[in-house]
């Protein structure tokens, strides 16, 4: 036991321990955050437009693409998913909502496009959720030397259940947004239509009276001319 050298080895040991435990954690997360995870995006698709998104996927990764049209026209859009060779994996025309799961057969850039080219003047708001692989784990797998304890596995199952609750909530929110946009459209249409119709009614009824009067005025002048 050498009392002089006691503090520095303790500090170095602590730093080493900290380094060994934390840095692989951060490093593992950084590496894993690349090719896995989910992207949820809502964007506006103008009429006669097509928008494409790309993602680099490694072979064997299970991916899911879900999309939903929120506002616009007949609430439908064309969707097309292609693999790196250009082979079409999924193609649907005028779909309002769909979900497609596939496993990447090869490495490369996968492309999916949403098209509103069939529509002439309505632009659409489209939501999509592209899930690639599994969500990054909270801790890198190298730390997993022992099986999960009962508490931890209970936490994992609650986490999965809550994730599906959040997913259902998102879809419910989108359907509600769709219903609400239809209701607001109806409201403005009713306002314009009622004012317009009242005006047309007034114009037509006043016009009828004057037109009728003009028929009788002309007849009288012709009869007097014929008489003399």
């Amino acid at each position: 036991m050498m009392p002089g050298s006691a503090p520095s080895p303790r500090w170095a040991a602590a730093a080493g321990r900290w380094g060994c435990r934390l840095l692989p954690l951060l490093w593992g997360l950084l590496l894993l955050s690349g090719p896995s995870g989910a992207s949820e995006i809502t964007f506006e698709l103008p009429d006669n437009a097509k928008q494409c998104f790309y993602e680099d996927i490694t072979q064997g990764t299970k991916c899911t693409l879900e999309f939903q049209v929120i506002t616009g026209g007949h609430y439908d859009v064309d969707c097309r998913l292609e693999d790196p060779d250009g082979q079409v994996l999924y193609k649907e025309m005028k779909k309002q909502y769909d979900s497609f799961t596939f496993t990447a057969s090869r490495n490369g850039t996968y492309k999916f496009c949403f098209s509103n080219e069939f529509s002439t003047f309505t632009h659409k708001t489209v939501y999509f959720d592209f899930q690639v692989g599994e969500d990054p784990p909270l801790f890198p797998s190298e730390n997993r030397v022992s099986a999960l304890t009962q508490m931890e596995s209970a936490c994992v199952s609650i986490h999965e259940a809550l994730k599906s609750v959040i997913d259902y909530q998102t879809h419910f929110r989108l359907r509600e947004a769709q219903g609400r946009s239809r209701a607001e459209d109806l409201n403005t249409r009713v306002a314009y239509w009622s004012v317009g119709e009242a005006l047309i009614l007034l114009v037509v009824s006043i016009g009828q009276v004057f037109l009728l009067k003009s028929f009788f005025s002309d007849k009288r002048t012709t009869t007097t001319r014929v008489g003399s």
């Binding site: 080493g16 380094g19 509600e176 009622s194």
Partner: protein, 227 residues
């Protein structure tokens, strides 16, 4: 002592690898192409007091080599975020790679718009940019290993923290749902009222114009001595 030295060396190696990974890790996942002055907008419908973190990375298309350059310094992207009332929450210029954060104060549709400043790209006519984008909302924006390190949580405590964050997000979303449903109900009731008043008003106008028409014509025919 030798063990401590090995541990220190290990820590340094991990740190070096970490730095390397940070430099090399570009793949933010999803990407899309945008033209020079094109503006792309994304909508995020979020409850209030929710944090949104966006990461993006841009690459320029090199016409000669017909490939996307790995990184182009000097390229800038302007990020503008508008809240549901149309007020600008964030409007900043970032570099070719950036990270923007904002917290919503009103619930609703927030619009995140990105466009590149075209002064440099004017040289490359017909150029396009590849933009890697990643937007994380609410609970997904939390960086759990960082939180674990900062608050010194055990694994179980960290899992419990994650579950708590998720449940909080669900609660906020439900409050927002209640607020939206109220708006929906107000819109429907307003439509109902408008239809009711309009039908009454139209009937009244119809009757009044009918009466006016008959009286006017009667006086006209009497004046013409036809009646």
């Amino acid at each position: 002592m030798a063990g401590v030295g090995v541990k220190r060396l290990q820590a340094m190696v991990w740190f070096a690898l970490l730095v390397l990974t940070v430099c090399a890790a570009g793949a933010h996942g999803l990407y899309f192409h945008i033209g020079e002055t094109e503006k792309r907008c994304f909508i995020e419908e979020i409850p209030d007091e929710t944090m949104v973190i966006g990461n993006y990375r841009t690459q320029m298309w090199d016409k000669q080599k017909e490939v996307f350059l790995p990184s182009t310094p000097g390229l800038g992207m302007h990020v503008e975020v508008k809240d549901p009332d149309g007020k600008v929450v964030l409007s900043r210029q970032y570099g070719s790679e950036g990270r923007f954060t904002f917290t919503s104060h009103t619930p609703g549709d927030h619009q995140i718009c990105l466009h590149s400043n075209s002064t440099r790209m004017a040289l490359f006519a017909g150029g396009k940019l590849r933009v890697h984008l990643d937007i994380q909302v609410g609970e997904h924006a939390n960086n759990y290993p960082e939180i674990a390190a900062k608050d010194k949580l055990t694994e179980l405590q960290l899992r419990a923290r994650q579950l708590l964050d998720q449940v909080e997000q669900i609660q906020k979303e439900q409050d927002y749902q209640r607020y939206r449903e109220e708006r929906f109900r107000l819109t429907s009731e307003s439509t109902n009222q408008r239809v009711l008043w309009w039908s009454i008003a139209q009937t009244v106008i119809l009757i009044l114009t009918g009466i006016w028409q008959m009286r006017h014509l009667k006086s006209f025919f009497e004046a013409k001595k036809l009646v």
